[in-house]
Amino acid sequence: MKTNTSATSDKFTFISSQSSEHRLSTYQGQFACRYAYGRAMESLIQGEKGQDFVGVHIDGDTCNFVVCDGVGQSYQGDFAARFLGNTLMDWLGRTREWSSAAFAGFMQDITGAASEQLKHLTPPGEVPALLREVLEDKQKLGSQTMYICGRIELPSAKKRQGRIWMAWQGDSRLRFWKNDAEISEHFHATMLTNERWSTLTGPVGGLPHVYQTRLEYGLPMRLQLYTDGLDDLDPIRQVLPDEQIQILLDAPHTGGLEDDAAFLELRW
């Protein structure tokens, strides 16, 4: 997969590549968007794909976004993250009215296509027999990923109310600030490690969590999403300068990232 970044007249798209790092970058339109992608040092040294995904598409006053964290212990977690990330970006782009039931149904419906693709990703032949057997067992259990996705429609002077819609499963971080006050506590109880999406069964550990609220005109807000590879960010509430976020991504204190990291921040 190649990195896809484009920006024209307040249209902007970024889709991470799982094969390379993307240093912290900024796009400034009606949204201020910061995004980055990094692989675990282990993966980088071995030349392997990262298992996270981040995608964002801004079109004027609307923004669609997806962050995925492939489950390393499932079969080819990078596949689930990439498949679901791209599929959700497409779904967000063509869906206008959402319901929790319709979203849960969609997450179930896409398992057929995902399983069909995964079937072709067979374990390599040259690995030890025990590893091959374990990989074959894992393939039968499917590929899994955690995810957060959503869409923002900004309010304007003419349209005084906008809205934000989000859905998620897993323990990736979803942090939300309203007028500089963090209101993330609302989500904490639902960010659960044992919840995810599987190519085999769809939602795992329960139905997707869905949040929707209106956005008021003139009220500054900040939404920050990242995977657990960037958990050093957890105690930090203030807006960090770019270079400090990049330091967390470079992770010199641990000789590089210990896990893959995807980062997305939106301010409006």
């Binding site: 282990e42 794909k49 390393g72 212990q73 990078d78 690995v127 030890p128 025990l130 657990d228 210990e258």
Partner: protein, 251 residues
């Protein structure tokens, strides 16, 4: 000190198995020799470690293991500590052939020496674990003081853990009919066997992180349970070996 450091390539878990290969291990359990039940359970635990150590198609050495079989002497079956990737590359475990006596003190002493040499290099790693499997009374010196010394060794993640799997039909006053619903052995559990009581003294409390990992595999041990399993059937022996590999790892 809360057993939460995750096993990774940079911070691998160390597990030392002490396997009793005395003559009584030829006796039958579930129509198999006890030694064969143990062999299969150990092989399953290693498979579980491989399962937890794969990322993509690659096996990352998140676990390091040593296997010491003992009778009247100690036999280092892997010739030192080996990474799980090296064990998987070999493919099969060395044979476990029952011999005569059961000198567990010698095995614990060798485990202690391994830990003394390894701990200085494991300060960022999960607390090591010693998993002892036996089916009878030790015939040599008392192993308890050595096990206690081992349990007092520590890294920042916690004290070294000692687990005991005791193959016996007479340890509890009632059989365990549903191993997956069993709550475990607790400090106040009544034990019918003096040797079992000794082994309980040599067993660490089950860390919460291990308990949660076992719960994910549908084994519902209660808070406060000890790392001690009565190996009265093959499934309980298997739970014991799975417990040894329940070090937290990144999902």
């Amino acid at each position: 000190m809360n057993y939460t450091i995750q096993a990774s390539q940079r911070t691998p878990a160390l597990i030392i198995y002490l396997i009793d290969i005395s003559a009584s291990m030829n006796m039958l359990m579930d129509d198999k020799r006890r030694i064969d039940v143990v062999y299969e359970a150990l092989a399953l635990a290693i498979r579980q470690m491989v399962f937890r150590s794969t990322k993509g198609n690659r096996l990352t050495p998140r676990y390091r293991i040593a296997i010491l079989a003992y009778s009247d002497d100690v036999y280092d079956l892997l010739n030192g500590i080996k990474g799980i990737d090296e064990v998987a590359a070999v493919g099969s475990l060395p044979d476990l052939t029952p011999k005569r006596f059961s000198d567990s003190a010698k095995a614990f002493l060798q485990a202690e020496r391994i830990l003394q040499s390894e701990l200085p290099h494991m300060q960022d790693c999960p607390a090591p674990l010693v998993c002892h499997m036996t089916d009878g009374v030790a015939t040599g010196d008392d192993p308890e003081p050595i096990a206690k010394r081992i349990m007092s060794m520590s890294v920042p993640d916690g004290n070294v853990l000692v687990e005991n799997i005791f193959i016996s039909d007479h340890m509890l006053d009632q059989p365990i009919l549903q191993p997956r619903r069993w709550k475990g052995i607790h400090p106040e559990t009544e034990l019918q066997d003096e040797h079992a009581a000794k082994l309980r003294n040599m067993s660490s409390p089950l860390p919460e992180s291990y308990r949660e990992m076992l719960a994910e595999a549908d084994y519902l041990l209660a808070p406060g349970a000890l790392m001690m399993l009565p190996g009265s059937c093959a499934e309980l022996v298997s739970i014991g070996f799975q417990m040894s590999a329940a070090t937290p790892v990144r999902a």
